[in-house]
Symmetry: C2
Subunit: 80 residues, 2 copies
Amino acid sequence: MARFEIYVTYRKGIFDPPGATAERALQNLGYAEVEQVKIGKYIQLEVADGTPEARVREMCDRLLANPVIEDYRIETAGEA
Amino acid sequence: MARFEIYVTYRKGIFDPPGATAERALQNLGYAEVEQVKIGKYIQLEVADGTPEARVREMCDRLLANPVIEDYRIETAGEA
């Protein structure tokens, strides 16, 4: 089978609630060196051999990411 | 500032509800080539220059990941 890794992040300018919460929580715990935390999704996808990246992109647009508020990056992780 | 990227995934054998849901949903949408979907977290952390990775590991153990059910991997993403 083929493996893809997908990194979903909030688009520039879109508020990132989990990231903002973690950022404040870390600072409250005493980690004053923390400047920014962003939390997105890390998706590991296993598909049948020969599945083209365009097909994975379609899955992202339709279901795995929300193109209105999120960006994503697809990486080929090779055969498994 | 220094940047780290953290990849949080469910530990082997721990049920991954968002991954299982996305897997079934994609198959229902007609993506029969989908074999497995795992959904974890992709954290981008910006900290003050000189922050050692051990300190980031401590933040993961205390707040960013749940060591009971999750594994994580830290990568240095360089200066920003």
